[in-house]
Symmetry: C2
Subunit: 265 residues, 2 copies
Amino acid sequence: MTGGDHERRTLRLEIEYDGGGFAGWAAQPGQRTCEGVLTEALVTLTRGPVELSVAGRTDAGVHATGQVASLVTAASVDPTRLLRGLVGVLPEDIAVRAVHEAEDGFDARRDALSRAYVYRVLTSSAPSPLRRQHVLHHPWPLDLALLRRATAAMVGQHDFTAFTPTDTQHVFFDRTVLRSDWIESGDELVFRIEADAFLRHMVRVMVGTLLEVGRGRLSVERFAALLDGARRSDAGPTAPAHPLCLIGVRYPDPRPAAQRPEPVT
Amino acid sequence: MTGGDHERRTLRLEIEYDGGGFAGWAAQPGQRTCEGVLTEALVTLTRGPVELSVAGRTDAGVHATGQVASLVTAASVDPTRLLRGLVGVLPEDIAVRAVHEAEDGFDARRDALSRAYVYRVLTSSAPSPLRRQHVLHHPWPLDLALLRRATAAMVGQHDFTAFTPTDTQHVFFDRTVLRSDWIESGDELVFRIEADAFLRHMVRVMVGTLLEVGRGRLSVERFAALLDGARRSDAGPTAPAHPLCLIGVRYPDPRPAAQRPEPVT
């Protein structure tokens, strides 16, 4: 045996999936999951054991265009050939869109600085057949100014206990929202949020509760009071999963400071 | 019987559908079609016979965001109530997004000045799960300058016999392309075309043949020579239906000239 057989390489995968056919990211016995399907494909192609670390453990039905996962594999695995192999092997509702070699020790979950999601709300009176798997049809009037005031209150570090199911197995419920807003896009209102990390169902409970604010059923003041560790029952309903999409994950720039691009703003 | 029973009203419907579950627009016995499903819903809601006239008889699998149809119905049918009724009755893959009263005698097919379609081509090496029902995945290099030169040659009146199946039942094969181009949109190249009318499969054969030009397999000169009534076998393959979408239909402005908006360009 030569030393070369033991050399390892860390890979970073950028992943897109249509969440409609998956029971979420995380592998579960007897369920079709993103992690399960992708692990199986990687085992076939790399002929070795595969353990994926992922940035966002999305729920059943949630989509991703910018999911990131990492794995450690044999040094003989070529990223470009692996990408081509994955195109041939994966089913049509999940794709690895890029494979890059990462620095030694890179871990997609532990090293992520933040995750960003969008949630699309269609406000027209008629539904949209072509977007039905990607938007919440909400044909009732929404006050965008109220939505935006409540959303601004979420930025910063808060105790989001009210925004996750009571049975959620978290140790800490503090999360830091880095930015969050609503933009108008044609006949849609799109909620965007970036946070260091998210509790289970957190974005969906946020949206369900914000829509109550937008419809005038909950005041901005009462919404803001939920951000100090209120109970789940004080917040609004959990909005459906299918309009939610993980759009990206932020990591520290591995380059020395002098080689990094100037910040845009 | 009073005269009111005989009063009629002409309605214009704006329609969106996901073509994936339909055998095209036109009603056919034993097939699920857009016309069939929509007619059935309108008969239920208006309690009268319904005959639809449509601007674009799209093929099986082709989507529409801007389809237009018209019908003549009883004067007692209220457009706003009809729209609400259709939201409740139609299946989720087809929607009437607006109902307007039209001038007497309006006919969505006969009065249309032009139809506009887009065809989306994804050029990244990996496919896109979330767009798989809306784009053609074409991971081979395309020369955009060649595509654009060939596309520019199509503008104007030509004999498009080479761009429709040989068994197509048309009397005339001349059509006038009003504008056509390719735009870059992220990792997609999007073909856009507006013409007075289209032959069966015309956009799909155009795209199939233009992609041959973009890959360097057919010269722009030979492409241009197809526009003078060449045979179908001289043109390229018929591209798949699912990346094609009817985005809009143009009609004469019914307002007197003095009330029309100034042209933008």
